[in-house]
C-alpha cells in the first residue's frame, strides 16, 4: 500500500491553473523523484500535501496520506501530521531558520510540541538528531545561532528539524540547489541514509535530472501542471519514450556545438594575473582586538589569450568570485598585479580605467536581481555605453541596442519593455546583450546559467558559444557546475582555499583530476549518463 497517494489533483490559485489531474504515489522506504522546470507545479504539489498553500488556492481531487484524506483534514489534524508524520526540507537554507532562536531550540521545538516531552528530554533528543545529521556537540553546540553556521550546515539543521520525529514521509523541495556540488553530494548521502534507516518515504523535488536519477527509485515528470511520464527511474530515462523526457534529458547533457577551439593567438596575452593576493581584515572581537584576517585569494597567477574560454571552478567560498572582482577592477588586490591588454589595472582611478572597462564586461548569476525594475530595456542595455570615447547620439544608441538585442536572439520591439515582462532565460539574454554592447574583448560570467532551467540553460550556453565564435570574445566562466565548464570552456582552473590547485585543458582535468580538490569536485558532480548507467547496473 502506498504511503502517499495523489489522485487526479487539480489546483488553482486565483484564476491560474497550477495543477491538472496530477497523479503521484510514494511507498514506505521509497524515493520518488518529482522533476520539472520552474513553474511546473512541483513545489505546489508539496505544499498541497502539507496543506500550507496560499489562501487563494483551491484543490480538488484526492490526496491520501497513511489512510487520511488530506484535502478534507482539519487544521488541527494537519498540525498533528506536520513535523510528526510528514517532514519537509526547503530549498534555501540561508533563510529557512529563525535568526533569533538557537539551533537547539529550533530542533527541540517540534519534539516538545508533538511528544509533550519536557525541555530536558526534548533537548536530549534534539542533540542526538543534530549528531545524526553531522553536527556533533563538540563542534556545534546547541546554543549556536543560525548565522554562525554555513549554508550546508544550516541545511543539516533543517533536515534535523524535519526528521527529528522519524516521519513516515519526508518531502525535500530542491534541498541541494543552493549548495555547491560537494555539499550537495553530502546532503544527498545523508538523506539516502535517513531513508534507509527508518523506511521513510522520500518525495524528492528537483529540476536536476542527474540528482533525481542518482536518488530516486521512481520518477514523475511534470510539465505545466500535468504529469508527462512516470515510472521506474532507470527505465524511464534510458528508454526516453516520451518526447518531453527526451528533451529534458538532452538539455541537461547539452554541449553546444563549437567549432574547433580558437587558434590561440600567440603574442600579447589578453589578461595576465600575476601572484595576486587579497586579504580581508578579521572581525573586530573587542575595541582593540581583531580576529586574524582571511586570505580570500592567495598568490594566484593566470593568463588568458584573446578569444579563449576559461573556467574557474571551485566550491563556494574558495575565492573565485573575489578573484573575478579584482579582474574586473571592482576590488583591489592586497598584492600582485593584473594586466589587461598589457595595461596594469591595479591601483588606477576610474577615469584611467575607462578604456579597460570598455573591453571587459560581466554577466551575473541572478537574471532577476541584476536589472533595475523601473527602467526600460533600451536604457538598461545602453548602460555600459558611457565608457565609450565618444558619446553616441540617441539614434546611434537605439541602433546599437537593437543590434545587441538581435545578436542575443531578441527583437527590436523588446526595447521598450520593462524587465518584469521577460522570463528568466530572456532576462539572461538581456544581461548578455548588455555585456556585449561595447564589443568587449573579455566577458566575466559568474554562474551565468545556474539559476536557469535545463532547457533554457542549453539555449544560453549555445548563445555563449555562438558569440565566442562570431565576435571572438574571451570568457572567464566562474562556476561550481562542471557540466557548464565542460560544455563551453577550453581550459579550466580549479581553486581551493584561495589557491589555484590545478589547471589544464578542460577535458583532461575533468576526466583525470590530479589534486584532491579537483577529484572531490568531479566525484561529487552529478552526471546523468553515469547515474543512469549505475542504476541499470544495479538492477541487472
Amino acid at each position: 500500500m502506498s504511503l502517499l497517494d495523489i489522485e487526479n489533483l487539480s489546483l488553482t490559485i486565483g484564476d491560474t491553473q497550477i495543477l491538472r489531474g496530477m497523479e503521484l504515489s510514494v511507498a514506505p522506504g521509497e524515493v520518488m523523484g518529482l522533476v520539472g522546470e520552474s513553474g511546473s507545479g512541483k513545489s505546489m504539489t508539496a505544499l498541497t500535501v502539507m496543506q500550507l498553500l496560499p489562501h487563494a488556492a483551491r484543490a480538488t481531487g484526492r490526496v491520501t496520506f497513511d489512510g487520511i484524506d488530506i484535502l478534507a483534514a482539519t487544521e488541527d489534524q494537519m498540525c498533528a501530521l506536520r513535523g510528526d508524520d510528514i517532514g519537509m526540507v526547503f530549498q534555501e537554507p540561508m533563510t529557512a531558520l529563525n535568526p533569533v532562536k538557537t539551533i537547539g531550540e529550533q530542533v527541540a521545538e517540534g519534539i516538545r510540541w508533538h511528544t509533550k516531552a519536557n525541555r530536558a528530554e526534548a533537548e536530549d533528543r534534539a542533540r542526538k538528531m543534530l549528531d545524526r545529521v553531522g553536527l556533533p556537540e563538540a563542534k556545534f553546540p546547541m546554543a549556536r545561532f543560525p548565522h554562525e553556521l554555513s549554508g550546508g550546515q544550516r541545511q543539516r539543521v533543517v533536515i534535523a528539524i524535519a526528521c527529528a520525529l522519524k516521519p513516515k514521509l519526508l518531502i525535500a523541495d530542491e534541498p541541494t540547489t543552493a549548495l555547491d556540488v560537494v555539499l550537495q553530494a553530502q546532503i544527498l548521502d545523508l538523506l539516502r541514509d535517513l531513508v534507509a534507516e527508518s523506511r521513510m518515504g522520500l518525495l524528492l523535488i528537483s529540476h536536476d535530472l542527474a540528482v533525481v536519477t542518482e536518488m530516486a527509485d521512481r520518477i514523475t515528470i511534470l510539465r505545466h501542471g500535468e504529469v508527462m511520464e512516470a515510472g521506474d527511474t532507470a527505465r524511464t530515462l534510458s528508454e526516453q519514450t516520451h518526447p518531453y523526457t527526451r528533451q529534458l534529458a538532452q538539455a541537461s547533457m547539452h554541449v553546444p556545438a563549437r567549432a574547433r577551439p580558437h587558434d590561440i593567438e600567440t603574442g600579447q596575452p589578453l589578461l595576465q594575473v600575476e601572484s595576486v593576493t587579497r586579504d580581508y581584515p578579521g572581525r573586530r572581537t573587542s575595541l582593540f582586538k581583531r580576529a586574524p584576517g582571511i586570505r580570500a585569494v592567495d598568490d594566484v597567477s593566470l593568463s588568458m589569450a584573446p578569444g579563449q574560454s576559461v573556467a574557474l571552478v571551485g566550491r563556494s567560498g574558495c575565492g573565485k568570485s573575489t578573484l573575478a572582482r579584482m579582474i574586473l577592477a571592482l576590488d583591489q588586490p592586497s598584492s600582485g598585479t593584473i594586466r589587461f591588454r598589457g595595461e596594469t589595472v591595479t591601483g588606477k582611478s576610474e577615469a584611467e580605467l575607462k578604456p579597460a572597462r570598455r573591453n571587459m564586461q560581466v554577466v551575473f548569476q541572478d537574471p532577476y536581481g541584476s536589472f533595475d525594475p523601473r527602467q526600460k530595456v533600451e536604457k538598461l542595455i545602453a548602460e555600459p555605453l558611457h565608457v565609450l570615447e565618444k558619446k553616441p547620439t540617441r539614434a546611434e544608441r537605439r541602433e546599437m541596442v537593437a543590434h545587441a538585442l538581435h545578436e542575443v536572439g531578441l527583437g527590436i520591439s523588446d526595447m521598450d519593455k520593462y524587465p518584469h515582462e521577460f522570463s528568466g532565460g530572456q532576462r539572461q539574454r538581456l544581461s548578455i546583450a548588455r555585456a556585449i554592447i561595447t564589443r568587449p574583448k573579455l566577458v566575466v560570467a559568474d554562474e551565468p546559467v545556474s539559476a536557469l532551467d535545463v532547457s533554457i540553460r542549453a539555449q544560453i550556453l549555445d548563445l555563449f558559444a555562438e558569440l565566442n565564435q562570431k565576435l571572438g570574445i574571451a570568457y572567464l566562466f566562474i562556476t561550481h557546475d562542471l557540466t557548464v565548464a565542460r560544455a563551453i570552456t577550453d581550459e579550466v582552473l580549479v581553486m581551493h582555499d584561495g589557491k589555484v590547485v590545478e589547471r589544464g585543458k578542460t577535458s583532461e582535468v575533468l576526466d583525470h583530476p590530479q589534486s584532491e580538490a579537483a577529484k572531490a569536485l568531479v566525484t561529487a558532480a552529478p552526471d546523468l549518463h553515469r547515474a543512469i548507467a549505475k542504476r541499470l547496473r544495479e538492477q541487472g
Binding site: L52, C79, A80, E109, T285
Partner: protein, 315 residues
C-alpha cells in the same frame, strides 16, 4: 557584544556633549536679557550691570559654558531667575508628575498596540484587520486633546470615577495621585497606540512571509503559536524604534494634555519658563530631556542586541 556596548555608550556621551554646546549656544544668541527681566522696566543701567556681574553673565562665553556644564554634572542646575529657587527643585517636582505619566502612557500604548497589531496581521485583508486598522487610522488622525475632553466628559463628569483635572501630589497617597494621572495617560496613549499598532502590523506582515515561518509551520506548530513564538520577536526591531521615539515625546510633548488636565508637569514648566525668559530653567529642562532621549535610545540600541543575536556578534 562588549564592543557593541562600548561603541554605543561612546556615541551616547559624544551626542550629549555636542547637544549641551548647541543648547547653550542657541539660548545665548536668543534675544532677551534675564537681568533686565528680573529687575523690571524701571531698573537703571547700573543696577542691571551690577546684577549681570552677580549672575556671572559678563564672564567670557567659554568660561560660562564650562561653569554651566560642570554644574549639570553635579546636579547643580543653578537658580531660576523668576522663582528664585534652585532649578533642580523645580524640575524634580515636575518630573514626579511627568515621568509616571509618560511611563503609564507608554505601558498602556504597548499593551493596546501589540495585541491589536498581532490580531490585524494574522487576519490580513479580512474584516477584523480592516476594522482595527480603520480604528487605528482614526486614532492617528484625531488630536489627543479631543480624546482628553471626551474622557473627562464620560469618566469624570458623567460617571464621576476620577477627578477631571489637577494633581493632589504624591503626598496625598499613591492611589489618589495615580487616579488623577489615569485619564491623561489614556488620552496620551491612544494616538501612540494607534501608530504603534500600525507599525507592529506591518513589521509582522513582512516577517510572516519569511521562509522560517514556513519552516515553523512545517514543524506542526499551529498558526497562533508561530505568530507568538517566531514572528513577534523578529518583528520587534521597528516596534522598539518607535517605542523609543514615543517615550521622548511623552516626556515633554504633553503641554496640551497637561493644560487640559491642569497637571503641574514638565511641559508646562518649559512653556512658562520660555514666556518668562527664565533661560536657566529652559536650558536645564532641555538638557534633561536631551539626556533622557539619549538614554532611551541607548536602551533601545541595547535591546536590539537582546532581540537579535546577529547584532551581538557583529562589531
Amino acid at each position: 557584544m562588549t564592543a557593541y556596548l562600548l561603541k554605543r555608550i561612546a556615541v551616547a556621551i559624544a551626542t550629549l556633549l555636542l547637544a549641551s554646546m548647541v543648547v547653550f549656544a542657541v539660548l545665548e544668541i536668543l534675544p532677551g536679557d534675564p537681568a533686565r527681566l528680573m529687575l523690571g522696566m524701571n531698573a537703571s543701567a547700573d543696577q542691571i550691570e551690577l546684577l549681570r556681574n552677580q549672575m556671572g553673565l559678563n564672564a567670557p562665553l567659554a568660561l560660562r559654558y564650562l561653569h554651566w556644564a560642570g554644574g549639570l554634572l553635579s546636579l547643580d542646575f543653578g537658580r531660576s531667575y523668576t522663582y528664585s529657587v534652585p532649578v533642580i527643585d523645580l524640575v524634580s517636582e515636575r518630573l514626579a508628575v511627568s515621568l509616571p505619566l509618560a511611563l503609564i502612557a507608554l505601558a498602556l500604548s504597548t499593551i493596546i498596540a501589540i495585541p491589536v497589531g498581532l490580531f490585524s496581521a494574522s487576519r490580513r485583508g479580512r474584516a477584523g484587520d480592516t476594522i482595527s486598522m480603520g480604528a487605528a487610522q482614526l486614532g492617528v488622525a484625531v488630536p489627543n486633546f479631543w480624546f482628553a475632553l471626551m474622557l473627562i466628559y464620560v469618566f469624570a463628569v458623567w460617571l464621576r470615577l476620577v477627578p477631571a483635572g489637577g494633581f493632589p501630589g504624591w503626598s496625598a497617597g499613591v492611589w489618589p495621585a495615580l487616579k488623577s494621572l489615569l485619564l491623561p495617560a489614556v488620552a496620551l496613549a491612544l494616538p501612540q497606540a494607534a501608530i504603534l499598532a500600525r507599525v507592529t502590523r506591518s513589521a509582522l506582515i513582512e516577517v510572516l512571509s519569511e521562509d522560517y515561518i514556513r519552516t515553523a509551520r512545517a514543524k506542526g506548530l499551529p498558526y497562533r503559536a508561530v505568530l507568538w513564538r517566531h514572528a513577534l520577536r523578529n518583528a520587534m526591531i521597528p516596534v522598539l524604534t518607535i517605542l523609543g521615539l514615543q517615550f521622548a515625546f511623552l516626556l515633554a510633548g504633553t503641554i496640551i494634555i497637561e493644560n487640559v488636565f491642569y497637571l503641574p508637569g514638565l511641559g508646562r514648566l518649559v512653556f512658562q519658563a520660555i514666556t518668562q525668559r527664565d533661560l536657566i530653567v529652559v536650558e536645564s529642562v532641555v538638557m534633561l530631556l536631551v539626556a533622557a532621549v539619549i538614554a532611551v535610545n541607548l536602551l533601545v540600541d541595547l535591546s536590539y542586541a537582546v532581540v537579535d543575536p546577529r547584532l551581538r556578534s557583529r562589531q
